[in-house]
Point group: C2
Chain length 420, copies 2
């Protein structure tokens, strides 16, 4: 294997993994499915080939351990998830697991042991397709798994507890998967960007500054339905024109503030007939920023805007925050080490926030985290067209190799937690 | 009956008709249904009571004829429709038929015969609920009925031809219902306004200037879907923000032009997830004006606007006109006569276009038409809350009585067709 391009191997393995699906003709691999069983077995075999001992924890996370020089030393975690969305792309998740294995394989081939152990984790669930809940795998490690979730049932009536059991896990002992923060040095994850920034900047990889916080809001404008032909413009209480004014204001407001993204993704106008003025409009608003203070200020500003639009037009406006997640800053120390490695390959290293959630956001609860994004084609993700270039994967592997060696050369390899 | 308030009688009869429904608990009366059979029979009995001879034509229109002084004289038509939408209000349609009967009843009681015959028509279908086609009744009279429609089937698989037959009509002889324009003096219809204008002006009735023309357009903006978290604002091709900009522009544009109404009633954003930037938006646009030139100019202006918005944002815009109906002007002569009658009761008579379609629009093909709108509560129509005051009905009856007498006093009762 030593003469083969590791990036080429990573691409081949990602292709091989992509053939393991629970749906014919498209890639779908959900938590504790037979496809996940096959995936864990295959990836486990690659881990063994890279000199790792392989195990699975109580929730089905696949763990490959590469020992350090001192067996009492701490552990550095690498990884990402092996589950996918429905009709998925090949790279979201597997890229991080397979590049991590490639890095360990290189150490193994060169008979290098670092002062600390490395564990590569293939998380059992990040996308949450089967049970409509996310990060099951990393939450088990972080100790934030909600035991109530074990009662959830999938679309065929199978409870999560049953699913874990039939997979070979132990739903009664999810706690045992929890990691002691004192034994951890940190967590680093390679992931496709799932956005267009690196492509636009002609950068193969970028260092993630933070996993952005998010507020999800349900907004409703209530006016009065009316006949589209018989109600003059000045006597209308059109909920859709109010919503339209709000949507354009959301866009302008987000454009005016660096790093802010705000999106209306769903809209429903009632009653929804071509000849009836909409009396009610429901829409979703998704606001993200890597700085929580900026995000909450933006949300407040947008709520005021919606209120003003409603009042001006004689409509009522309802505003319901349905989800809120704090930003998870990446470790400055680990990120600088990644950037230093990247600078060996790039003139300039792009630092960017992750607008999407990742296992790293959960792992941030117990250990310093860092992420390396790999450029993807057209920002496309969660879609069969998801695409990454082999040359970019090569850069990612080299950056991660350099990162691990730098970490090993540190006198005191114990970056403080959340020191951004 | 002579001592009873005719408006009170009209209200009682409208209540009685509203109890004839094909659905329990709500008013639904569709073309050639058993409920329509009952309705025709009941209304026919009131026609007879008012001195009319009663018949049904081949499509099931109910026709009551009150002879003129000279049996060779022409005929003036009054009427509206007896069918309803699903879960309808009581007044849309029946108000016009029942007030017309009240007018004839008054002539009959006073033993007055006019120089011309009057026919009161209860059209069998205006709303088109059962066969998704409108104005079946008036089209039969106007000679514009499409024989192909006889093959249409309702939701239970019953063809229109079968329905007409079982109702007692003759689908093979729809042509026989056609009226000779030379024998007609005109058509006048009383109808609830279905809009808020008269209520806002504190006017019980108003004279209709024209039945507005209408253009219905399907508009599509196609951009690119993307992750709501990972796609910066400046790299988006958001189809919904484009649509929102268009909707607000439609509103401003319509507000800026007297008599123009433009409505976006349906909107669909795809893929329609809260965390995905919409890549495609489909919406409907409904544009109406009583002057066709104004409407077509407005449609062109809005299409240019949509194009500009699409181009500016790097999106494609599709524009498909799916329906276009010309405006039907009411007869100046007949409308002036209505207005003259109304001036006996009101300081000022409001003339307003009808944004909704009516049987009068079809009858305009063969004879001069006029319409009297009656104020309704809150502009609500096509809804059980549809409401008209008895005092306003009284004004309507008196205006129509005056109108018929003026028409009888004319030396040459032959208003020219479409002389607006």
């Amino acid at each position: 294997m030593s003469n083969i391009d590791p990036a080429g191997t990573v691409m081949e393995r990602i292709e091989a993994l992509a053939r393991i699906s629970e749906e014919p003709g498209r890639l779908t691999r959900t938590f504790c499915s037979p496809a996940m069983r096959q995936a864990n077995d295959l990836v486990g075999s690659w881990m063994r080939e890279a000199g790792m001992t392989v195990s699975e924890d109580a929730i089905g996370n696949l763990i490959g351990r590469y020992p350090g020089r001192d067996e009492r030393a701490k552990t550095f975690l690498l990884g990402s998830h092996l589950d996918t969305v429905r009709d998925a792309g090949k790279f979201d998740g597997p890229l991080g697991v397979i590049t991590a294995i490639a890095c360990v394989q290189q150490l193994h081939q060169n008979q290098v042991q670092l002062p600390f152990a490395i564990e590569v984790i293939g998380f059992a669930d990040e996308e949450g397709v089967r049970y409509q809940t996310t990060y099951l795998g990393s939450k088990a490690l972080a100790g934030t798994f909600n035991e109530q979730d074990l009662k959830r049932v999938d679309s065929r009536g199978v409870s999560m507890a049953e699913a874990i059991k039939s997979f070979g896990g132990d739903p009664g002992k999810i706690n045992s998967a929890k990691r002691d923060p004192h034994n951890l040095l940190g967590y680093a994850e390679v992931h496709i960007e799932q956005g267009p920034v690196l492509e636009k900047k002609y950068q193969p990889v970028g260092v993630v500054s933070a996993i952005a916080g998010q507020t999800r809001i349900k907004v409703r404008f209530t006016g009065r339905a009316g006949h589209a032909g018989t109600t003059p413009m000045n006597l209308r209480q059109d909920a859709l024109t109010a919503a339209a004014e709000f949507i354009t204001a959301v866009e302008s407001s987000a454009r005016a503030q660096a790093g802010l993204v705000a999106t209306v993704g769903q809209i429903e106008a009632k009653p929804g007939a071509s000849n009836v003025i909409p009396g009610e409009v429901n829409l979703t608003l998704d606001v993200r920023h890597q700085l929580d203070a900026m995000r909450t200020a933006a949300v407040e500003r947008l709520q005021n805007l919606a209120n003003q639009i409603g009042e001006k037009r004689g409509l009522t406006m309802d505003w319901e925050i349905v989800h809120e997640a704090q930003s998870v800053p990446c470790s400055r120390e680990l990120s600088d080490m990644l950037a230093k490695g990247a600078r060996q390959h790039l003139m300039e290293v792009t630092e960017l926030p992750s607008g999407a959630g990742h296992d790293a956001a959960v792992m941030g609860d117990i250990t310093p985290v860092a992420m390396l994004f790999v450029r993807c084609k057209g920002g496309i993700s969660h879609h069969p067209d998801e695409s990454v270039e082999v040359d970019d994967v090569r850069v990612a592997i080299e950056v991660m190799n350099g990162f691990l060696l730098s970490l090993g050369n540190q006198k005191h390899p114990s970056p403080s937690k959340k020191n951004v």
